[in-house]
């Protein structure tokens, strides 16, 4: 089942329903499907939580996922994962589910549209100063932009923008390229190789979700910790924010 034709570069161009200025395209539909799946699934699982060892297998699954995400965040954040856990965990789960559901026929990953990934990247772009300011205060946060020297101010600003662009384009490029490769392989060698590529796509989807969440966490951590860390170590220049 082909939803997105091979000459269409993103599911934004597949318009399912149009009424006046309201346009419902495939990206919106699948985004809402993933969101509904996550919300309904979480509500169903967390309805009967049990603190004992005898728990439902779904609760066990959820606990495994959440504790792993939490420990990964905790290793980067140093000051406890609980501040960042809701944001990063939501990003990770949403991207993960919208990526790996591609094995369902007729499903198009909403993350293979540049609009979705740009929205996610813009969320990270605004989350970095919000977390940084709540942690350090406005003055201390703004001082980070002039950290080694005043000359570095434009480079810091440029880095903020270019890494947001890279975050969006990376996720979009990986997912979209994978879809196109499968579509081309279906035309060339129909039966076996597309299945192998689909299986590889599960791995790609998982790794991209991991990378997106980890990069968002690294950006936030570098914005909210660099000064503190440099103060503790008695150094003048703390960790630089990773550019790009």
């Amino acid at each position: 089942m082909e939803i997105v034709a091979i000459n269409q570069i993103s599911p934004d161009q597949v318009i399912l329903f149009q009424w006046g200025w309201i346009v419902i395209n495939a990206t919106l539909v699948y985004t809402w499907m993933v969101m509904g799946l996550l919300v309904v699934g979480s509500i169903l699982i967390t309805r009967g939580l049990s603190p004992e060892r005898a728990m439902s297998r779904w609760q066990n699954l959820l606990e495994v996922i959440l504790s792993n995400v939490r420990s990964e965040i905790g290793e980067i954040a140093k000051d406890g994962a609980d501040n960042y856990f809701p944001f990063i965990g939501t990003l990770f789960l949403f991207i993960l589910f919208s990526n790996i559901l591609t094995f369902i026929p007729g499903y198009v990953a909403p993350t293979s549209a540049l609009t979705t990934t740009s929205a996610l990247a813009v969320m990270v772009f605004f989350a970095v100063p919000i977390f940084g300011i709540t942690k350090l205060g406005v003055i201390e946060y703004l001082k980070e932009y002039f950290r080694p020297n005043v000359i570095f101010f434009p480079f810091h600003v440029m880095g903020e923008f270019s890494r947001t662009l890279a975050l969006a384009v990376r996720l979009f490029g990986n997912l979209m390229s994978h879809e196109k490769v499968i579509a081309i392989l279906l035309a060339v060698t129909p039966l076996f190789f597309p299945i192998v590529m689909q299986a590889l796509g599960l791995l790609i989807g998982l790794i991209q979700a991991y990378i997106f969440a980890i990069l968002a966490m690294v950006y936030i951590a570098s914005a909210s910790q660099s000064h503190e860390e440099s103060e503790h170590k008695g150094k003048k220049h703390g960790q630089e924010a990773p550019e790009k």
Partner: protein, 92 residues
Amino acid sequence: MDSISIIAMASIITAGLCMAIGSIGPALGQGRAVHSALSSIAQQPDERNSLTRTLFVGLAMIESIAIYCFVISMILVFANPFWTYIVKKAGG
């Protein structure tokens, strides 16, 4: 040659060249990164988790260059603005 075939030919050749040249650098870079990460893991297996995480972040950074090239060649092939313009002009 009319302008339609010039634009088509230039886009296709440029898309191929962009992919070919643009993937050399990231491929070499990723090879170096994985090489040193593997030898570091072999030396210090205890630090495997943090090494792997740093490796993934670094690979993502390197990979984004190849992804830029890929997106540009995809735009050239599938959503070429010059092509759309010239076809619209020839049609209307």
